[in-house]
């Protein structure tokens, strides 16, 4: 599907100039195709997750009953939970519910899934949102600086740190942060994000510090490298040379002329980083006991709570889609701009 759309863009790029109305229609067509692609992707994701949960040994009934799970009791509870119905009926019911905005009922505790995931999802988006709000400007600054001071100690430091950070999983980065700033070397930040009932994560900036830092380190070290490369390319262009000859200050060249042009290459990567950040909260939340949907997802897998697993995976998949969609729109916009 992506290849088709890419081809369309290429065709768009090379096509003879059309009237503005025709261009708008064509743009809407591309956007429409992307939306259809997104819906199909989400459907396939939900199907894959559903099938994967069926392959997992055990079901919600065996987990709930524990070692008291005699065959009779498992059968009775499975029937009560609707797990004895044919697979296609179970999936169809779930899908029908989704189309009506109903994510179903948790098999583990009988609550509506929407109600169950509302607060954890909000908490996860807060964590990921703050992290990304730090990642983006910090990556731009570091990337631009590294490009400006290419091959100096600063550049080498950025590249070296980037290699190390990219090689370390979030779990290791977070554990190191806890060791350094939470429990052992310094006691600067709470090592665990306990959010009491009736409060919100943003009420406790100190508790957010290390989970955010865990996500930020990985994100910045990846994105700043891309910014650096992109800015280096732009700095080598003729118009930058011209600007230098005109005597424009270096800072103005970097941030007013070079950076905006470098962004077109960076935005798709930034969108991906944003998506990864939402995905990455699963591990980070687990490590810091942050009450988000990542922890809920892991527990739901343990409990074989299929409707909750489905809902969370769909949310994460939808976030991936949205950010990719934004990146694509920017790209389409670029094509229009070029034309």
């Amino acid at each position: 599907m992506t290849a088709i759309i890419e081809a369309e863009w290429e065709a768009e790029r090379s096509a003879p100039r059309r009237p503005a109305r025709s261009r708008r229609l064509r743009w809407l067509r591309v956007v429409g195709a992307k939306l259809v692609q997104g819906v199909v992707t989400l459907f396939l994701v939900s199907l894959c997750v559903f099938l994967a949960t069926q392959v997992m040994p055990g079901n919600a009934a065996t987990v709930m009953l524990g070692t008291h799970a005699t065959p009779d009791r498992v059968k009775a509870l499975s029937e009560q939970l609707g797990l004895t119905q044919p697979l296609w009926v179970q999936y169809g019911k779930w899908l029908g519910g989704i189309l009506h905005g109903d994510f179903g009922t948790s098999l583990a505790n009988g609550q509506p899934v929407t109600q169950l995931i509302a607060t954890p999802a909000l908490n996860s988006f807060v964590l990921a949102g703050i992290a990304f709000a730090v990642i983006l400007p910090l990556s731009l600054v570091i990337g631009v600086l590294a490009a400006q001071f290419k091959d100096t100690w600063f550049d080498k430091l950025v590249l070296g740190s980037s290699m190390i950070a990219n090689a370390l999983p979030d779990f290791i980065i977070g554990t190191l942060l806890v060791f350094l700033f939470g429990t052992t070397v310094f006691h600067w930040f709470p090592p665990v994000a306990i959010i009491p009932i009736g409060t919100h994560p943003w009420d406790f900036p100190a508790k957010l510090a290390m989970p955010v830092a865990t996500l930020v380190i990985g994100g910045v070290m990846y994105l700043s490298r891309l910014v650096r490369v992109s800015v280096i390319d732009v700095l080598a262009s003729e118009y930058v040379e011209m600007a230098q000859l005109k005597g424009i200050s270096r800072a103005r060249i970097l941030f007013v002329h070079a950076l905006p042009n470098a962004l077109s290459a960076v935005v798709p990567a930034a969108s991906l980083v944003a998506a990864f950040t939402v995905g990455g909260v699963v591990v980070t939340e687990y490590l810091f006991n942050y009450p988000g949907m990542g922890v809920l997802l892991l527990q739901s897998i343990g409990a074989r709570d299929i409707p909750t697993i489905q809902a969370i995976v769909l949310i994460i998949a939808a976030v991936y889609f949205v950010f990719n969609f934004i990146a694509d729109l920017v790209k389409v916009g670029d094509v229009q701009e070029v034309r």
Binding site: V63, V141, Q148, S249, S300
Partner: protein
């Protein structure tokens, strides 16, 4: 200074300023990391919890966090004290007929319910009715369903209940000490969970937090603080970090590898002997373990002191292949020790010199995976292959009672544990052990009311379990309860309930 360097210096100065401001802002947001508690008498506890946790004591218990809530909101008719001695709870006394088929329970008078009423016979009837009504999902009912007929429970007066049993049962008062057979008020609902325990529920969000407040009308020993916050965790390591960072004061246990680190950072540990132990159950009804020689060989393969040292960091006693009874002295048995030569001979005699088996575990409790791996290494020395298979709990439960060789855990007292772990119909009898002599002794045990006689029977049963070898019990771990120096008055408990038994506990 070149233009390039000037730009660099300016930009670096901005970046440094931003970083410093961010650092200061974060520090000012609460650098101590502690939750505000001490002055108002609040105890912050951290326990593993789950989104499935409920305030309904008749739900299937999934986490230790849920268990702590129930223990502090509700009471039992009887309970076992920290030394394993039976004590009266909501019941004041029991009478029975000659053949132990009719039991009369006299309830403690003047026990207040959280909603202001007085606990009585109607509440007992309501509770028992609910336990049996939820029989499809309420696992603990199996502890009493063999002998209690819910239709045979009648109210004699406001504080007297009569049980007409399906069959004679001599240890009826002990049965009600099982830590899930709680009594609730007759007006109990999920939204208004009425009980008689030392705390009332104020706020509860599964997998996040429960806030309980001291119940001033409690009939028993009251806690010496007002508020109990239980914070729920998904991961033991996060609990360790929270303890070390001063965010919680008390938990039930930590991975033993962390004990020294925590001690170095000021965390104290209260050590108790414990009846909880691992049991590596071998299916006695199918090959190769239906041959007693093979089972005996396996028990001679394991290096018990190594298990104590490696799997429990020394916080355990060497096990001797029988379940422990806290209220009776140990049987007079020789300590089983590693003897690889004899094990080899036994396997050769059984035609299993090159035995290959899978040993499954979910590694959910301290020592499970380590013990399995140590056994595997020991077995390899005599050509026996034990493949340790680690899986998640859902997968383990999917084939529960079907695994030929599994790492099981026994957490209850002896009288509650025997029907589950060692009798043919037991749902925890992963060894499928069915020893006629043992079963006869069990029937005798459950039909006697004389405690001295009970202990004599228990020792005979333990001897039979040791000799017939359905399970390898390589160690009897100790229970280490970690707590901050703010917490005082915790009592040792042989059933792993030091952390949740809060009568008399105070907080600085």
């Amino acid at each position: 200074m070149s233009a390039q360097r000037r730009v660099a210096r300016k930009l670096l100065a901005i970046a440094a300023g931003v970083a410093m401001a961010a650092g200061l802002a974060a520090c000012s947001g609460g650098s101590t990391g502690t939750t505000t508690t001490s002055a108002d008498g609040t105890l912050n506890m951290g326990l593993v919890g789950s989104v499935n946790d409920k305030v309904d004591p008749y739900a299937s218990q999934t986490t230790v966090g849920e268990g702590a809530i129930w223990q502090n909101m509700y009471d039992l008719l009887t309970y076992l004290d920290g030394n394993g001695k039976l004590q009266m709870g909501l019941a004041e006394s029991f009478d029975h007929n000659a053949d132990n088929t009719v039991w009369t329970v006299h309830l403690r008078p003047d026990v207040k319910l959280h909603d202001g009423g007085t606990f009585g016979a109607d509440d007992v009837l309501f509770s028992i009715k609910r336990m049996f009504a939820l029989k499809d999902s309420y696992g603990a009912i199996t502890q009493i369903s063999d002998f209690v007929d819910p239709n045979g429970v009648t109210k004699i007066d406001d504080h007297t209940v009569r049980f007409t049993l399906k069959e004679p049962y001599g240890v009826f008062p002990n049965a009600w000490s099982y830590p899930q057979l709680y009594m609730t008020g007759k007006d109990w609902t999920e939204q208004n969970p009425d009980g008689t325990g030392p705390f009332t529920m104020k706020k509860f969000a599964p997998n996040q937090q429960a806030t309980l407040e001291k119940f001033d009308g409690y009939w028993g020993r009251k806690p010496g603080f007002k508020t109990l916050n239980i914070y729920f965790f998904s991961d033991q390591q996060a609990i360790v970090n929270a303890l070390q960072g001063g965010q919680i004061d008390l938990t039930n246990a930590v991975p033993l590898a962390n004990v020294d680190t925590l001690k170095a950072s000021g965390i104290e540990f209260l050590k108790s002997d414990s009846t909880t132990h691992l049991s590596l159950d071998m299916r006695t009804d199918i090959p190769p373990f239906n041959n007693p020689k093979v089972r005996q060989a396996m028990e001679l393969i394991v290096d018990r002191p190594a298990v104590v040292k490696t799997a429990y960091n020394g916080y355990a006693k060497v096990g001797n292949d029988y379940d422990v009874d806290a209220s009776c002295s140990a049987p007079d048995l020789p300590q089983r020790a590693q003897d690889l030569n004899q094990a080899k001979q036994l396997l050769a005699a059984a035609g299993q010199s090159h035995l290959t088996v899978d040993l499954v575990t979910d590694g959910a409790f301290q020592g499970m995976l380590e013990t399995a791996q140590l056994l595997s290494q020991d077995a390899a020395q005599i050509g026996v292959t034990i493949n340790v298979k680690k899986m998640d709990t859902g997968s383990l439960l999917d084939k529960w009672l079907k695994w030929p060789f599994v790492v099981n855990i026994v957490t209850t007292d002896y009288l509650s544990g025997v029907p589950d772990h060692s009798l043919p119909a037991g749902q925890d009898n992963a060894a499928h052990w069915n020893n006629a002599q043992f079963n006869t002794l069990a029937t005798k045990l459950f039909n006697t009311t004389d405690q001295k006689e009970q202990c004599s029977i228990v020792q005979q049963m333990q001897t039979l379990q040791h000799n017939d070898a359905p399970s390898i019990i390589p160690a009897y771990p100790e229970d280490l309860t970690p707590h901050s120096s703010r917490v005082h008055g915790l009592q040792t408990n042989r059933f792993g309930q030091t952390y949740s038994t809060l009568g008399g506990v105070t907080v600085d």
